[in-house]
Amino acid sequence: MPDLATFWNDARELDEPRPRPSTAASGEADFHRTLCAEAPRLRRLVHRLLGFTASAGDLDDVVQDALLAACRHRDGFRGEARLSTWLTRIALRKAHDFARRERLRRRLFAWLPGGRAEHLADPPAGAEGPDERLLPARLALQQLDHKDREVLVLRYLEDRPIVAIAELLGCTRAAIDARLSRARQRLRARLDDPGAAT
């Protein structure tokens, strides 16, 4: 028969955490504070990665998910890279996951009767009306594939060297060069002919 005593003990832990040694607890608190200090930088990065359209709630979701993942996998941080690099890598992955989910959601809405097919040009909640001159650029950026946007943001907006981007994305320098070149070409093509991609 199943060991119900073990089951119950485990279930009890869900709302009755075990007491921890004070040194471990203080180390953990420091770690959490360090993570929270990184939050504004990660938020800015995620905002750029998502094409400047994510709402405040969506940004909070992605950033908090990234920080929680960092807490869960703290043991996986071996100190080979800087903590900020490690966190950036997690945030990139979470932003990628979010973009994929959003894409699926849009397709689902398009498929459902009465659903909205696209809301690419929607301004983020609470944002000021964007400069008219920049609307085509914004639309073109949103229409880009997430991977293209990722390298453009890291290289030209975050101003990171190619080597650092290669390290973050787990690619070679040559691969990043090629991706950057293709991403710029696609961005240019969309700016020249906004209707082509849709």
Partner: protein
């Protein structure tokens, strides 16, 4: 930046600051972790409840199809599963109540899955055993009586 597309990109970045946000504190993270865990446990517990519920139905049908009474082992299995069912139900109530837990690695999902698999395997093995009364040559209760009477 070289190229008009990159200049536009930079201008867009300058013109689009991220929306304002409340600062994230360790308490925010702890609260989010708790909510994530609650959602996950609730989902797993719902599956567990559905699975044990369907197992009860299967076990009852199998018992009805037999000519003899459910064996004591089968009854014990059913009782244990009912206990499990009740406890998972209680667990659902507990995870939706306010708690003061801090961040801890989640391990409830794998554990519940493992327990469910074990419970079902044990129960199926127990049901396949012959009933002790029939094995010892005692007279089985006639099969034309309704199940409730046979059990009584």
């Amino acid at each position: 930046m070289n190229g008009p597309e990159l200049q536009l990109l930079e201008a867009l970045d300058r013109a689009s600051p991220p929306p304002p946000a409340a600062p994230i504190t360790p308490e925010t993270l702890a609260r989010r972790a708790r909510n994530v865990r609650r959602r996950r446990v609730a989902a797993v517990a719902a599956v567990l409840l559905a699975a044990t519920g369907s197992w009860f139905a299967t076990a009852a049908a199998a018992s009805d199809a037999r000519a003899d009474e459910p064996s004591p082992v089968a009854r014990q299995v059913a009782a244990e599963l009912q206990t499990l069912h009740r406890r998972v139900d209680a667990l659902l109530a507990r995870v939706s109540a306010p708690t003061t837990e801090t961040l801890r690695p989640p391990r409830d999902r794998a554990w519940l899955r493992y327990e469910l698999a074990r419970a079902r395997a044990d129960a199926l093995v127990a049901l396949d055993r012959p009933a002790p009364a029939a094995a010892s040559g005692e007279r089985a209760v006639p099969t034309d009586q309704p199940t409730e009477e046979r059990i009584r």
